[in-house]
């Protein structure tokens, strides 16, 4: 059974509450609900966590080593400022997929660069809650093709 860790970065606990025009009406609870429904249907084990703290996210990525087959992370503001998250992904050696609700290339210049992208498997941005669904799907696809390749 494939195990996926979904991590939500800072301020994503405010989804649905703030800035609807940019992020839509879904709360974080709604998105986690969608992901769990999908996971159940696909027979995937899925855990989702949110934190406003860079250190927590680093620690959770480290702890995923051996416990999860893939990480799907929306690093939010830390996308652009955190080298620690990048190093955590390198040290955990768990395939990691970066997702964003909004299209970061349509926003302020400083949101165009991602420190994580260079060590992630891939990046998906701009599809709202669907970005997460595509992310977990890509994760499953990657784990399966890796497993079949090594079997």
């Amino acid at each position: 059974m494939i195990r996926i860790l979904v991590l939500h970065g800072p301020n994503l606990n405010m989804l649905g509450v703030r800035e609807e025009a940019l992020y839509g009406q879904h709360t974080l609870h709604d998105i986690n609900g969608l992901l769990e429904t999908w996971a159940k249907k696909e027979g995937v084990q899925l855990e989702a966590k949110q934190s406003n703290s860079e250190g927590d996210l680093v620690t959770w990525i480290q702890e995923a080593r051996g416990l999860f087959d893939a990480i799907v992370i929306n690093p939010a503001a830390y996308t652009h400022t955190s080298i620690a998250l990048r190093d955590a992904v390198l040290s955990a050696e768990v395939p990691t997929i970066e997702v964003h609700l909004s299209n970061i290339h349509r926003r302020e210049e400083f949101r165009h660069h991602s420190y994580l992208a260079g060590v992630a498997l891939g990046q998906i941005s701009g599809f709202g809650a669907t970005s997460y669904l595509l992310g977990v799907q890509a994760a499953v696809d990657h784990v399966q093709s890796t497993q079949s390749a090594s079997s």
Copy 2:
């Protein structure tokens, strides 16, 4: 019936022939086959074309106006140099999704910037042929939610 145009940019006709380590063993013919199989299963109308010419791609995007509900495009090298493609997407007013086989953020600096991303619905990169499959799926999802919103 949802209609999707898939456009492949320059040198993608060489897929499977060249640089396997970077782009995988799938030929463009294989990828188009995967997309057609998916389209048939999902009941989606799908057309795929490739060109090495910037002008051809611009014209095809313009002509999609009224004929297609969404475009999924891998602009390849033109991602980073073509403002004409960007303007074509603006003028056609067909929702457009940008996909890349490789993770462009892991490659040369000049491949990190996309002129298209600022006008695309979203961007998916790094999952090989799967990037296309996620792209058409995001396209269908977007068209359906727009249609249900306006109905």
Copy 3:
């Protein structure tokens, strides 16, 4: 009764202890005392907190939503590095005023840029403890004029 949250960023707990030439002899305790005296005199409800953790500050800003009419924050070092604080202000939708003890434009180049300023109501820097007093006054002024405008 107007409610104001005063937030002190990293290392401000060391005020009065360190670098007197730059920051003056007031301890953080002294500044909070000045603010409380002012608040009592003006009939304003005021709460002050300090943290060295970016995540704590983000959470406190989020929690201010609905509980406070304005935030006066000295983000200290996080002024220049934290997009998460910026996003927190955007999501909390509480008018926020940025204050600095020292004139940040007289210091190192990397202290001239503020990620917060672009979403703050305004910025006050260079007047020592007086910066805070001007900040809470500007906050009261803003809340009153907004209330009278909407009444």
Copy 4:
């Protein structure tokens, strides 16, 4: 009796006439009125002048030497282009406070940098006419604390 010179830079004579959304409905005459009322109440001597000419502003700052205890200046467009104003402040050796009606950090990139800030006592921006009131208050506060320190 504390003496304060208030200087208004180019185009501020058009306040209230132009761009209300950005600068509010107060005319320059209104702002000077507010300042005079405040001055009378506080027992402060205050003089206010406006010019569109960089040279005039330079000369007025020079002439303040010995005649005023502090300058509160809104250099407007010259904030970003005038080194002559900066040198005037250095040569006059009168404590100078920089104020702005709008939050300059929310506007075009070229308005983010101030040549004056590096030699000013401090900077206040974003509070409309209130910026001036906070500025003169900061000026009085500074003069008083300097006088008590040297007495």
Copy 5:
């Protein structure tokens, strides 16, 4: 009757005297003569002024409010250094057209950027005295189409 103000920036009073290879043999008097002849023929009211002072030009633009329907300005050296002129155009709210005798893109790098262009209706450069004639024509055209649109 359409009223147009023509403003000439610094050093344009030296035209015909200096640097013929770059600016041609026409003196400023000649150019003003050409413009007056054209104005008489077209039934347009036209006034032309020159100054070496940034402050004068700012004031003249402000005073054009309500008195002129359009401004045609060759800001010369101030094109590249004056934000005050830009703000004056914003505050006067008179449609403004920027003209240059020489092609500024063929000259030194620092002449390629214009602070005015971002708030001007349009820019014409490189046609010598003809640049002015095209400018006043564009001004008339703009005023007429605006009037017919609002009538």
Copy 6:
């Protein structure tokens, strides 16, 4: 009889169809009609062509050598990315005038730079369809003054 070639770059065939707020309601057909009417009235021979292909535009400029007295070109997106167009103008040695419908200095940063401007006679931008009319007029003016100078 003066002969002028008018060239329209990529996506200009979509005029009137797309983005009315930015480009107005005129179709390319309308603009060519205006130009032909003007040409007939002025006794000028005028030919107009559009292409989405950089190579076509290069070839048409080359072929203008000896056949046309001037070129008026709106290079659209290729303005900012094509050195080949610049070299074509250099090699054809036909006086070339660059025109733009919108004011390129009011748009994205990457639209502020023109590779063509450095070799063009002059540049006109921001007046909608009128930009073309001013352009052909400037072309006629230039050809006549050159002819009279050499006769």
Copy 7:
């Protein structure tokens, strides 16, 4: 028998016609003649083609795979703007040598950078028609030493 493809980029069909001071009096026909004479003497098979279209050049490079042992290309203006040519060279996997008639380092800043150079075998610039002769010679030398190494 060694097979070499010589490709000429945009505007090189104008050689000898334009800008003699920079490019000399040789027409493209002359240069191709020199190359054919050399090829005949050396017993090398040589084919030369020119295009103004980026897409054509990309396609010709792709088609060289298996048919030619080396490519000698003067990408002209596309040297500095085309990532598609770079990718074509990568996908074709035919050793490619970049040549320039003029010394590109003596010209405008934007001609100093080559997207092709990073994937070419080597670069020769500044010797007029001789650049091509040195290029084909280097190509032969490379093919021979590779063949002898692998035999």
Copy 8:
């Protein structure tokens, strides 16, 4: 007895587990063991701590004031992004030495700059676990020479 605080930044708890080629086979436990052995031999009091949280590291540096004679810190990813750590060192006024396992100048561009270095006593990088040993030795050397100077 000299007292030294050794601080390990984010992800260093993964040493020996991850990326052996870059960081060697020593775990953090091994390194702390080496340091304790050395400390015992030298008669130095040494305490070592690790955290993934920027705020924790800031607080520990502050608390070192008065309790330790020197700090040896490997700030890892925070080296390049944390101004808060820099300010903590300034406020604690405990001599601080920056160490790195790998040679940061051989890695990605963004790892070449250190916010800490400007306030540290010195920097040692590239010697694996030996970097720490040299660091504590330099700390002892510095404390001793300062003490002998002031005695």
Copy 9:
């Protein structure tokens, strides 16, 4: 008799009054006295003027045409911001020497660049009042060698 115009830019009227450490104890009156003494001894006609206004300086340079053989100017703050002064020197065609009291290369980064230097005969900086004396001497030397060359 050689005629030299000496121009002093903004804030130089404050010399001797302000910032003695940087500019010395000489007042502007002293410097003009030194220059007049020198002029009398050398048999040179010399006139000195100061202004805080950019426009005045531009006008005085223009008026020097035909009346003076050389200009010695200390543009002070306008050195770094005024293109109008540069153009004035170009239009007046009077040989101009740029002098500075302090060594501008030892001061803030923004004082290292001079718009005037590119059109001046030469530049002298760093010798206090002596800079002016060397400047007028260089002017005389230049005028004499030019006169002897053309006689």
Copy 10:
């Protein structure tokens, strides 16, 4: 008889000894041998020298004036840092060709720029020892065509 000076810059005396993958197995002695063989066959007088000292290379270039018809130089590391070599070439006025063993555009960013290229006749890079052979050939070709042109 044509006389050519071949100069080898710093560290080229280590060729064949170091970094074979990058520079091949030829020692400098081998390369000089190849050049001498070629020179004898072509009837050219050739002298080759190497130095690690920038000053020596400058002096040798100066001394070539009048004694040699052309210089072929591989400036190695000094390519990117020496303006003195550039000035030496300018002052010697001997046609100079720059050669490199490796393709400098495939190496570190700081090796892409050459101070010499702007004053060299041309540049050849990437062909190993063959670069030198192409260089001396280009030199002979240039000298002969210059001589025939002037005879």
Copy 11:
């Protein structure tokens, strides 16, 4: 017996003579004395040399090949400008450690970058004469661990 070469770059022969505040009172002779004492105690063979000439330093590094097990070098000013030293280290293939007396990150911006660091084993800066002692110790440590690894 381990053999270490210590190289001192330009101006280090002036140590103790100049700028005591920055470099301390030790002369170069003192430092060499310290190193010799240490070497004798540790049973290490050590040779120290100083030169103001870049070429000499290059040559000495080359000659170390085979004669020394490690180099400890303080390249002083050449740290920031010499690519030739970098190439010498690459060609000599002797492990090299870079040391600095002062903390180069506390000095001018142009002293923050080191061309050598990218090819050195590691870098030590900021500890005065102790930097050298830590450097030779690191050298010994490295040689021993390499020898034990290969034995």
Copy 12:
């Protein structure tokens, strides 16, 4: 008796031989003759030396300590690339004046920056051989005023 050392940098031994338009017809011998004549007249002891080697110039500056009262140096190409010369001036602590024959601000961008200027007493450029005469005069003036100040 005041003692002045005059140092000429690389390629200045070619003066009069090369590039007359830029540097005039004076040979270095002529310039030294002018300086000696002046020295004899003024009763100043003067020595002049030239070298193409950076190391020689560094050494000569060091040796000036105690032997000369001032240095007048034209560092030529090393102006822009040598930090070693800057450090030599700092270590020698002999007042140093930088002179240039041509106006370096009228030449290539890379000649506008001087590493020496930041530590020189002052800089004189653009007056040909006269630059040296003004330089030695400024040196004498400086030494005399320093001596009179300290006596």
